[in-house]
Each structure stands twice: as C-alpha cells, then as structure tokens.
Amino acid sequence: SASESKNGASFPSGASEANESTAPASGGELTYALATSPDTLDPHRSGLAVSVRVFRTIFDSLVAQLPDHTIKPWLATSWTVSPDGKSYTFKLRQDVKFQDGTPFNAEAVKFSFDRILDPATGAKNATALLKPYQSSEVIDDYTIKLNLETPSVAFLGNLSQAMLGIVSPTAARKYGDQFGQHPVGTGPYKFVKWDENSDIRVERNPDYKWAPELVDNKGAPYLDAIDFKIIPEEATRIGSVQSGQVGAIETVPPQNVLSLKNDAKLQLFQVNTGGLPYTLFFNLSHEPWNDAKARQAVQYAVDIDAIVKSLYLGTYERAWSPLAPTTFGYDPSLENGVKPDLDKANRLLDELGWVKGADGVREKDAKKLVLRYVDGSPNREKRNDIAAMIQQQLKKAGIDVQVEITKDVSTVVYTNQAYDLYGNSQVNSDPVALNSFYHSIAPGARPTLSHLADPEIDKLLEQGVVETDDVKRKEIYGKVQRYIIDNAVILPIYVFPYTVAATRDLSGLKFDSLGYPLFNDVSLAK
C-alpha cells in the first residue's frame, strides 16, 4: 500500500550494504549528537521524543512492533488475549537480568506498570499509553496477567513503546524520584553517566542476548559505548559531524540535507515518524472559529505547499490527514484534497459577514477578525516560521493573525486556553492516539487541544479502540480523518522525518516503527 512504500529509512546505497556482508567489527565508541536535551531518562516520566532515543538503549519492552505493525516477542515470549479483550497473559523470558543484577520477572513487570499508574510518579505520556490498563496479576515468576478496563486493540502496540519499558524495581525504589538520573533497565546498553546539557553515556551490556526481531544482532551490541552529545545549535551540530568530531547527528535541518547528501564523507538517513503529523489545532470553543465556515476559510487561505516548500525545501513531506502516512489506518485519499483558494476563502468570510476594514482586516460588529496563534519557543523544526508565513497568507484574506511565541506553552495553552490555533504532533504507533485530541471529555476534565465534541466522532473513536478487524478498523479511522479535514478542525502541515547524518564508517543503524534509532546492529569500521 501507499503507506508501506513511504515507510522505512531511505538508506544510503553502497557502503553500508557492502558492510553488511562482512562480519561487523566489534568495539569502538559512537558519539551521537542530539538536538535537544532529554528531560529525564526515566521512561515513565518522560514526555520527550529525544529522551526516548536515549533510553530506548537502556530499556526493553515486553513486545516489539515491526514496521508492518505486527507485534513480535521481546521480553515476553508469547501472550494470549482473553476473549473479551480485557486481559492479556504474558509468558516472560527467563534468562533476562537487569543491568544492576536484579532478575527480570513478573514482579518487575507488575512493578513497572503499577509505578506508571501511581500518581506520585508523575508519569506523563506513559499514563496515556498504558490506558486502559487497570491492574496486573503475577501468575508465577514468569507469567503475568494484565487486566484492562476496556478492550483496546492498540494496547499491544503501545506496550512496544519505550515509554512503557520495564524498569528495575530495585533501582527504582532505591533512587525514587532520582531514577531519571540513574536509569536501570534490561536493554543492550547500560547507563554510565549524564552530564547535564552536555552528554549522556551508555556502555555495552555484555550479558545482553534478548534482542527483538527488529534487529539482526540478537546478542550484546558491537559498540563499546555510545556518547549522546547534546548540541542544540544546528550549525554546531553539523560542523561537528563534518569535522568528524562526532559520529552521527540527528535532526539535520532541511537546508543542510542537500549539501550533506553530497558530502562524500557522510551518509544520510531519513525516516518518517508515525503517529500524528505536525498539526495546527483550531480551538473550537472560541468565537468565531467554532464555525466550520470560518475555519474552512482559513483552510483555503493557507498555502501549505508553499510553506513546506519554502521552509523544508522538499525534505519534509506535506501532511494531509490527522494521521501520519506510516500510521495504521492512514487514509491516502485525502491527499491533494484541499487546494488553496483565496477567492473561496474570501467568499466564505464575506458570507459570514466579515467585511474588510480600512486596514485590510475584516470586521464584524466592530470586532476585528483576529486569530490568536500560539507557538512554543525555540523555533523547533521551523515551527515559528510557519507561524510567520501563515500570518502573511491570512493577511491577504483579511485575517489578523496575532502570533505569540512563548516559552511557557503550558500556561498559555493548557491553563489559560488562550489560543485559536496551536500546533502539536505526537509520535505514536496506533491511531488511538487520535482519542486524546478529538474525543470529547468528561465534564470538569481538561479539554483536548481541538475542543472537538461531536458524539459521532466520539462513537467512531470508541469503536476504533475495540475493533479487532483491521479492515473495519481502517474504515472507521478513514471516516474520522475525513470528518476532521472536511470540517477543517485542523490544518495538517508536515510529516516529520527523523534525519541522521553519520560518518561513512558507521553501519547498521536501524529505526523502529516510530522512527527511533536502534543501536544493536551499529558498528564502526576500523
């Protein structure tokens, strides 16, 4: 299918393939430059993709998900699902040890999942991923039963995520809220040290022999150690890989992708991430954007192609749907659906009674047509630039876009709800991710970004969670996606490709279905 063809890394030809035939060299250290600093290495507490890239090396999950969305064993050797879909029984590997020597067993799994639910932990994304988990029963040392509140088709896929990785109960108890600075898991690398803002070092876990099907090397990794350097400044990051000071860098800015591609000393990896693409959410509870016509006017007035072309120079794909193309259920028929049409936009606004004033801004009842556009700082993935462009584009339709760039997104967006348009994305393995953005909420609970409250969509989303038939499930999500686009609930902008530039002596870098790098197979040519 279309989604399949877009999946996976665009691996460089030549050198790396030649390397695969010969046995990879053992030893060596890889320096891998990150663009931002992880918040914590506690998988349960973290909310950042960059943290996942690091702690994926330290923690393993119960299961693994392949790019084709199939689930494979990892720390669990096999599992059964109860007919009502509300309990999962896992058989665990018996030869696994945590890096601190603690044996891996059903207790450890129970501890990990219960830890996520414990409010004292302050888990962020992990809580959402683990839903609808309720409790677990240790059947025996290596058998565990997980009980769910409601059935969930996405549950297994979510279990494959690093944020639901299994932590060492001994270490977690010992370090308490400091566990993020002293992470211990069962992964191929063990944590050595973390110098804040500077680097995180992990070294080979020599006992490792339980790698999932995602990688070729099932044993201990070839590398002696990985140094994750934190280099926020783009130019410095690129400079350090060009000068050979580091072995690989992540998040190559679009404008540099071309020149690095042509650099004989370097190779470039690019893999699209799954989940929700970068999406601008309208706040449907605010006048006048609660009116679909007004939103559609914006939809027509914005030229997303121009944005993506200018800013990402052809290195990022444009998004068309609330889901990223590699995500299950993605509806390719939405592609090329909405075309920019300024006249149409103007007509829609005219119909709504917004008339252009002297300053070119539309007015109605002595009120200006204002769109409050909030974005975070710093200018990650040129998102602020998107705001600048949309501001100019909407100006032509007579909409006054007031952009607020803030460090304190939580207060502005989540506490004060002071936005008409706000952009976000989420790396995820399953379309259930849509629930936390488009499903209406219980009274008193915190609203979703879109504030969408449509019983029909709610019903579809609820069905999507339990529908086990892939075809039907796809259909359900197709309906959801079309509804969201047709009603201009959002403006999908781009699909984020995770890009890595590495020196040519590196080989074996792989990525999981979400686009996170895997270092099990990585080796450095001597």
Binding site: E196, N197, D408
Partner: protein, 316 residues
C-alpha cells in the same frame, strides 16, 4: 587590617544577600509557575496539581517561602530542583568549573589581545594602523557572539579541522569558545587601553624614562602599560560580569556544560531553587573577582596601598 577585611567581607555578604533577595522577588512576580512546566496538564487533575503545588511549597505566601528558603540556605541546604528533584548544590558544583574555565580563559584572551592591540593603537596614534585597530575593535564589539562563534566553528573545525566544534572536556574544546567570548571583551579593552595609554604616554615620567636611555620597548611595556593597566583592571571587574552573562550564549553555541545554560533553563522553567542557587554562586564569583580586582590594584598601583582610593574611578 583585620577590620578592613571584616568590613570588606560584610559588604560582600550584603551584595550576595541582596542579589538573592532581588532574584527571589523577581521570580516571585513572574507569572506562571513551575508546576505547569513539570507535568503534562492534560494528564493530571486540578486537585493533583494543587497537591503538587502544596508539596513543593509554592502555594505558601511570599514571605513564608522567602524565610523558609533562607533558613535552609543558612543550614547549607540549597534545596532540590523543582523540575527533576536534583539537589541544587551538586548540580552547581558540577557545572561551575566549566563556566569558570570559560570565563577565565576568555578574560585571558580579552586581556592579551586587548592589551597588545591597545598599546599598538596608542603608540601609532592616528596613523593607519591605529585606525585599523580601532575599526577591528569595533567589529569585535558589534558582532554577536553566536554569530562569530558559528563562524569560528566553520573556519577552525569544519574547514581547517584544528579545534573541535563543541564539548567541554580538554583544553582544545576551550579554544574556540574562549576566542569567541574573548574577542568581545578584547574590543572593549582595546578602546580602554588605548585611551589610558595615550594618557600615560603624555605623563612627564615617560620623558624621564626616555631621558634615562631606556629602550622604547621597556618604556612602553614595563612602565607605560603597567600604569595604563590600572583602569584596565577595573574594566576586568565589569567584564567579569559580562563574561558570566556571555557564557549563556557561548555555552549554547558550543554545547558546553555550564552554569549559563543551567540558569537560562531554570529561569524559563521558573525553577526557583536552581535559579536562586546559581545566582548565589555567580554573585559570590562576581564579588570574589571584584575583591581580586582590588587586590591586584594594590599590586599594580602602590599608591592604592596607601590611599584607599576608590577602585571604580577613572574608567574610560
């Protein structure tokens, strides 16, 4: 003498305490709070958030928080980061050395380059070389450090491959950041040294030295420069502050560890204990530098040893 030192210490303490109080007030009036930065608001109930606030003590009245903080500090407890519960003191000790290393070596660059060019400029007053030096100095002053830093990386790391582009381990990772920050300071020092050199070169004792038959080199560097240094040293006191502030950008550009980034992040996250702790330490560093400036004054200028001349007079 003991009394002089005691007074000095007291006023230093007053400054340090003053800056702590000021920071506390500033952070207190900042809108938003640490809790919202710590958690994912969408996943926590308002009650839970209120609980968390209470736990952290950020819901108590201003004066209570204030007194509490200082009582703890006096006991040697600087508290924990509100963001990741890391104890503040070890965190500062882990990052301060890198920043000091940078600030000191940058000051060194500023001083050597600034002095050399400043003297050159004064000696060749109004000649093309002087004009050139002055323009170069203004360039140093008018180039933002993030920009000159990136340029240096391109030139010395990417094209020439002489120095690493980033990091904070080993002297060679220090070269480019120290140069970048140092060039800024050098620009200021050149101007200052040129002025004071011109002044000193007009003093009668310079004629005496020449009349004694001293080589021009000795006249310029042994005698004139040492006299011209006196306002330069004051400048170093001022620069120390600028250097500490300048490290924020430099540390980001060169991905160095350091107190600069810590405080920038902490401020943005309103992580009060960390900000407080760092400010306390930078204030101490600043106060120490200025005390050193005073001492080196007395070393450079014996007149100060007698008269307790004011150290801040006579700049520019």
């Amino acid at each position: 003498m003991a009394k002089v030192i005691a007074v000095r210490l007291l006023s230093c303490l007053a400054v340090v305490a003053g800056s702590s109080v000021l920071v506390f007030c500033i952070l207190y009036v900042l809108p938003g709070d640490v809790v919202m930065n710590m958690i994912d608001p969408s996943s926590m109930s308002p009650e839970a958030i209120a609980n968390l606030r209470h736990e952290l003590g950020v819901d108590r009245p201003f004066y209570e928080q204030f007194l509490h903080y200082f009582r703890e500090v006096l006991r040697g407890d600087f508290g924990k980061s509100l963001v990741n519960s890391e104890p503040v003191l070890p965190k500062i000790f882990a990052h301060l050395p890198a920043t000091l290393e940078l600030a000191i070596s940058a000051s060194f660059v500023s001083l050597t380059v600034g002095l050399a060019l400043g003297v050159l400029s004064a000696v060749h007053r109004n000649k093309p070389i002087d004009i050139a030096v002055r323009i170069v100095a203004l360039f140093g002053i008018s180039m933002p450090t993030f920009w000159s830093g990136i340029l240096l990386i391109l030139i010395f790391s990417v094209f020439l491959g002489w120095f690493p582009a980033m990091g904070s381990n080993g002297w060679n990772t220090l070269v480019l950041p120290a140069l970048t920050l140092g060039m800024l300071g050098a620009g200021f020092i050149v101007r200052m040294v040129r002025n004071s050199m011109l002044e000193v070169l007009g003093e009668p004792f310079i004629t005496t030295l020449r009349a004694k038959g001293l080589a021009e080199r000795a006249v310029l560097y042994r005698h004139a420069l040492r006299n011209a240094l006196i306002p330069g040293v004051t400048m170093m006191g001022i620069l120390a502050g600028e250097m500490l502030a300048g490290t924020v950008v430099i540390e980001t550009v060169f991905s160095r560890q350091g107190i600069g980034r810590i405080i920038a992040d902490a401020i943005m996250a309103k992580d009060l204990p960390v900000v407080q702790g760092v400010v306390l330490f930078t204030a101490i560093v600043y106060v120490i530098v200025n005390a050193l400036v005073d001492i080196s004054y007395a070393y450079i200028d014996p007149r100060i040893r007698r008269l307790h001349n004011d150290r801040r007079s006579g700049w520019a």
